[in-house]
């Protein structure tokens, strides 16, 4: 769903690093180097960010589409 607040295994805070990680990887940076620069050393915490899929965004698309339809309906009537 949404990025977990802490690493499942060790409990290190990783939630606040996700957005920077995702942004930098999207711009073409190598994921391993981004993790190194964020000072995520252990492989338990590294996999949290590496293997994460933000499904909330996919779910929220339904709400965004519904919102668009509502606006379109208001436009015609």
């Amino acid at each position: 769903m949404i990025i977990p607040v802490r690493c499942f295994t060790c409990g290190k805070l990783i939630g606040d690093k996700w957005e920077e990680f995702a942004r930098r990887v999207k711009t073409g940076e190598e994921a391993g180097r981004v993790l190194d620069s964020l000072e995520i050393k252990r492989y338990c915490c590294r996999r949290m960010l590496l293997a994460h899929v933000e499904i909330t965004d996919e779910i929220l698309r339904f709400y965004e589409e519904a919102e668009k339809r509502k606006e379109a309906r208001n436009y015609y009537y």
Binding site: I2, C10, L13, D16, E19, L60, Y63, E64
Partner: protein, 274 residues
């Protein structure tokens, strides 16, 4: 016992402890993990939640957010003089969150919490709590309390607390022909080739894996990896609630208190017998 600080970088601390033994260091480690209190959200009253996450999921996420802890200003709920199940302002902090997405999709961050006590706030302002689509609302009140790691992992003040023996590497310069195989095989890059000799670059990262001993073509091997059983490298990484040095001093205090209580109990038992 001698203690030397090897490294202290914001939330990390590495200590070199000489003249201790395994039972003591392990007791200290376990005290750090299970007995040092820190603050975490324990109870959540959800007033309105129309987000895509369920109430329980949000409450769980809130609980895991590390909060900056003031150990001197607050009591553990079970030791608080108020004796109330609900808590008083000496053992409980209330944090409120009231957000609504007015324009498009947006993320709610931990920084949007309004705390009763400005010192007890989330460690980071950028932890995503939930994402809200337009017109979705989240309104809640959360109560943070002190707690111990033995009850729930959210009250652990550390994300890592480990120790290892101090490695001792000896290279027999008479038998070593500086083939360099041990330098190549070492994943921690402990050894380095200096001309026709093998030297130790940095001893601390050594994991005592013995790969360098196994790979040495000499028989018996020219490299010998052993460890000092009375010297430890203690590695501590705080989760952010308390500074690492405070966690350590608090653990020592708690361990001392528990041992004193143990001695007192033994004395009571003895006097009962006689």
């Amino acid at each position: 016992m001698e203690i030397e600080v090897l490294e202290k970088v914001d939330m990390n601390m590495r200590l070199l402890i000489r003249g201790a033994d395994v039972p003591f260091i392990n007791a200290l480690r376990r005290t750090v993990i299970t007995e040092v209190p820190c603050m975490a959200i324990d109870e959540v009253v959800i007033i309105e939640n129309s987000s895509v996450l369920q109430d329980e999921t949000i409450a769980h996420r809130l609980g895991l957010i590390p909060l900056k802890t003031d150990l001197d200003g607050y009591n553990l709920p079970e030791e608080c003089p108020c004796k109330s199940e609900f808590g008083c302002n000496l053992c409980r902090v209330s944090l409120t969150l009231d957000v609504e997405s007015k324009e498009g999709t947006r993320t709610v961050y931990s920084g949007e919490f309004i705390s009763e006590n400005p010192d007890i706030v989330p460690v980071s302002d950028k932890i995503p709590i939930v994402k809200l689509a337009k017109e979705q609302k989240l309104k809640l009140e959360a109560y943070a309390r002190l707690g111990k790691g033995k009850k729930h992992a959210k009250w652990q003040p550390v994300s890592m607390c480990t120790y290892k023996f101090l490695p001792q590497i000896r290279i027999d310069s008479k038998r070593c022909d500086a083939c360099g195989k041990c330098v190549e095989v070492c994943s921690r890059k402990v050894l380095v080739k200096a001309g026709d000799r093998i030297e130790i670059r940095d001893l601390m990262p050594c994991t005592l894996c013995q790969d360098c001993v196994d790979v040495c073509p000499q028989n018996p091997p020219a490299v010998d990896v052993s460890w000092d059983e009375n010297t430890f490298i203690l590695n501590l990484e705080s989760a952010g609630a308390l500074p690492p040095e405070r966690i350590m001093s608090e653990a020592v205090k708690i361990l001392d208190k528990q041992l004193k209580e143990f001695v007192r109990q033994i004395k009571v038992k003895k006097s009962e017998k006689s």
